[in-house]
Subunit: 216 residues, 2 copies
């Protein structure tokens, strides 16, 4: 079923490297990136690439140096803790600098019972199963606002502190509020957020992959 | 590390069912859904839920009856063919009505060589490996414009026809054009697209899961 050029009906760019170049040129021409530190700019360009929206920077907030902090943690072997299987699935293993573990506990058979016992969602309850991996980890939350709120509660209760939190839950109930809470966190926790309703697994994966690829 | 209610610092909805209800109520209050057929409306609400953007319907175009056609195909056991591992990863297996296969060939070891030989991207080349599964399948393209263009070329060259194509590639080079080409396809191919740059794996997964869940 291999089609030869004689059968091509459509005119489009087929060269992967050229597609990347043109994509990033368009993003840099259209997006307001001037206010971002260079290492954060690189990450935000990748996030825009993943969602197709050049107005994203207006909603981005990050603590100073968070990209370098997360990168250093990855180089030192920190695991990436994810709230959703799609996030874990999208992270490019070969870009990770230390064959870092990628952990998503949502599918663990104990999670539904734990969620019932804690009176919260499965996404939030699954974080309890990270307990022994959380110290120094890079946390990537790309789906559930409750997971991000619960993380802040665990840290507020004296739990282990991750190296950095990429907080990008999406949606209509708690997403904006949980990201604001992360940006306002009183723990000095390094963070990256996209304020408002937007977020999601693709944007989160793009952030992790961009941070990881420069750490190699 | 289980936290009791005495340690809760944040006020937020922890009940998963209530979160869904409030989310869908917000979407129905804010999004313009009146022009959509009821079965398509259900799918679009789920897509909005996955991306947090209530202005999505303005960019949605679908051929008449595509949701029912895709649903019928899934009930009959059609595979879901995906262009990206994140799409395959996000589809909820238990919602599929016939233990349908979910196929993503991008990681096949033969793909890089095939891409070089065909002079196209790996995402497009991977479609060649679907050849014997394409007839009657539900195709879900959530990442690569080149994959969607290549699919249309294969069908234009007399290749097997899928039952329906969910065309939601994202980005700045070819995404809008490939989705317009699908919407304009001269093959009578049932389709769902989000015009423009927006799209991506989360939105695509939401569409597949919404179609599948009503097919049970």
């Amino acid at each position: 079923m291999v089609t030869g050029s004689s059968q091509r009906r459509y005119d489009y760019e087929r060269d992967g490297a050229a597609i990347y170049r043109q994509s990033f040129a368009t993003i840099r021409a259209e997006a307001e990136l001037a206010d971002l530190a260079p290492d954060l700019e690189h990450v935000v360009v990748r996030m825009i690439h993943a969602c197709g929206m050049v107005d994203l920077p207006a909603d981005v907030e990050a603590s100073p140096g968070v990209v370098g902090i997360a990168r250093t943690a990855l180089r030192a072997g920190a695991p990436v803790l994810c709230d959703a299987q799609m996030v874990a699935s999208g992270i490019t293993r070969r870009r990770l600098p230390a064959a870092n573990d990628i952990v998503c506990a949502l599918g663990d058979p104990g999670v539904p019972e734990l969620a019932a016992r804690l009176g919260t969602t499965r996404s939030a309850a699954a974080l309890e199963l990270w307990a022994d991996r959380l110290a120094g980890a890079v946390v990537a939350i790309g789906n559930a606002p409750t997971a991000l709120f619960h993380l802040l509660e665990l840290i507020g209760a004296g739990g282990p502190r991750p190296a950095a939190v990429l907080g990008l839950p999406v949606g209509f109930v708690g997403a904006a509020e949980s990201k604001q809470a992360l940006a306002d966190n009183p723990f000095g926790l390094p963070f990256l957020v996209v304020h408002g309703r937007r977020g999601g697994s693709a944007m989160t994966v793009a952030a992790v992959n961009a941070i990881a690829s420069e750490a190699l």
